[in-house]
Symmetry: C2
């Protein structure tokens, strides 16, 4: 079958290759991929930023498709079902944190950028009817990260003021959509006027350009005192600005640090204002199940940026690297 594999000796580091189909092990199923979606993780694998990368691995964490084959002992009624694959494997028993055997589909385990993928049957969730294949594929990794950050970690309550930073990224978009669906008053921030415009169209109350030095004062004024909850994926030196726009008693959840480690945090403001700063990554099976429920209940449609055929994967990866996308980038075999 055709697949996008890591090819560290090549110029582009990835290549469309004819590979053997994976063998189905106990408790596993084969899913014929209808659509897959890119994440930063895939591009970072391409850039060699993870340990133990090996050429030949099929990349891709996000995918949706139709079950085509099941291992002996697995319920055969799965065959023909339309499914979304939860990329979060072996989370473990604790809700608070993933266990030691946790891994993410698509490195080291072969992923979804292929004609089909083999996964444990317990990673399958029925595709909600209102979603296209592209929308379904867009969901798993970024949706799960956003849902857990907002709910399990952030403990969002309706009517609260939420700030989603870096609007345009996959997690940030899902966070904005989910927060709106959960009844919050959502603000977004971005350096792109175009992305801010799209966020306001989606239903955000306020959009802030974080390159404008006045944005902190503006945000405090607009929200009459700051945000109850902030969802961030950047960290970096400007993290203290988030501490400034956070209401006393408020929470900041961050799921990434694209701008590096946070600068010297203002300790006094954190303890005097009783702020909580929480790290979050991916999510448990329970988080995933509840996310799918919310998406069905509120008929949420993930935002799709652009769809590429599998053959054009390098263009898709380059678009992700350039950070130009607004919504998820999709690959279709």
């Amino acid at each position: 079958m055709k697949a996008i594999v890591l090819n560290l000796d090549s110029k582009e580091k990835i290549s469309l290759t004819d590979v053997q189909e994976s063998i189905i092990g106990p408790g596993e199923v084969r899913v014929k991929i209808k659509a897959a979606a890119l994440n930063h993780r895939d591009e970072w694998s391409r850039q060699g930023l993870y340990p133990n990368l090996k050429s030949g691995i099929i990349l891709g964490s996000d995918g949706a498709g139709v079950v085509s084959e099941v291992a002996k002992g697995v319920d055969t009624s799965w065959i023909g079902k339309e499914v979304i694959i939860n990329a979060s494997i072996n989370w473990g028993d604790k809700q608070s944190v993933q266990g030691k055997n946790f891994e993410i589909l698509g490195m080291p385990r072969n992923g979804t950028f292929a004609e089909n993928v083999v996964v444990p049957v317990d990673r399958l969730y029925q595709k909600p009817d209102h979603l296209t294949w592209e929308e379904a594929a867009a969901l798993p990794l970024a949706g799960l990260t956003a849902y857990r950050a907002l709910t399990y970690q952030g403990q969002l309550e309706d009517d609260e003021n939420v700030l989603i930073t870096g609007f345009g990224g996959g997690v940030a978009q899902f966070a904005a959509q989910f927060a709106l669906a959960l009844g919050a008053k959502v603000s977004i921030s971005s350096s792109s006027p175009d992305k801010i415009k799209k966020g306001l169209k989606m239903g955000a109350s306020f959009g802030f350009d974080y390159t404008n030095p006045n944005w902190v004062d503006k945000a405090i004024e607009a929200t009459q005192g700051g945000f109850d909850l902030i969802i961030d994926g950047a960290a970096g030196d400007s993290f203290n600005q988030l501490i400034q726009v956070c209401k006393p008693g408020g929470r900041i959840v961050f799921y990434g640090a694209t701008r590096g480690n946070p600068g010297k945090l203002e300790a006094r403001r954190i303890f005097w204002n009783q702020l909580k700063i929480m790290g979050s990554t991916m999510g448990s099976d329970k988080d995933f199940r509840k996310m799918i429920q919310l998406i069905e209940q509120k008929e949420i449609h993930p935002v799709i940026d652009q769809v590429f055929p599998l053959e054009k994967a390098i263009d898709a990866f380059d678009r992700m690297r350039a950070g130009e996308q607004m919504g998820k980038i999709i690959l279709k075999p």
Copy 2:
């Protein structure tokens, strides 16, 4: 009456002065002070580290004594009662954070380093029978801060591994005592072998000298994987070490930053390990009530360092400044 007042023009910045007794306002009572206790806050006021300091203010947040007079309309049965004064005034309605009118007894409002003090009647709690006057006076500010950090913020569960840093300080000592009373496995850290010895004697399982560069590895080994909860009052550059000894899914609560703002935090470790970093200060009336209940139930005795007569307040303040104390420093009128 005699009182220790801020005297910013004098060499020692505080002095024993004869002052007029405060007038009792509506809803207030007069408490004849049997014992008062020092906090860093008092020494920092002396050092001029707060805004709006004015000479003439009577310092002191912590005190216990006997009600000697009540305002018209206040239940007269209070008169003669033995009470502890909650120094946390006007916390407000929210459990998560103090309101805008919050203040701490002893600046700007006249405090407890005097023969008597006037406070709102709702600041009084009956002194537990098993406590001496010195022990009762030791409790309010540091005890409340420790109790809230462990419980409301830290959500301590029994059998969890807790690290209390900077053992020897008032809050740290209460935190260790309360955590033991709540059934946790307590470790302490200090730079003083003597203080570590005392912590182990109090019931701590392990003591770590944080000036030893191996302490991080030792702590992870001793606890078989790190701490569920860390209570810290120092922050500073070594805060990343706390992140290293924190178990995946663990929590760090800090109530002060005696070593300054935390250094560049390791963002990836925080989000991948789903850590929570929380600021905390003082506590609500509910926190205070529950703390008193715990102290009564478990017959906890606060640790007293040394008792000084009010006339020797400068010596007491100097001892606090030098950080030599082990337990609370007491003043008696």
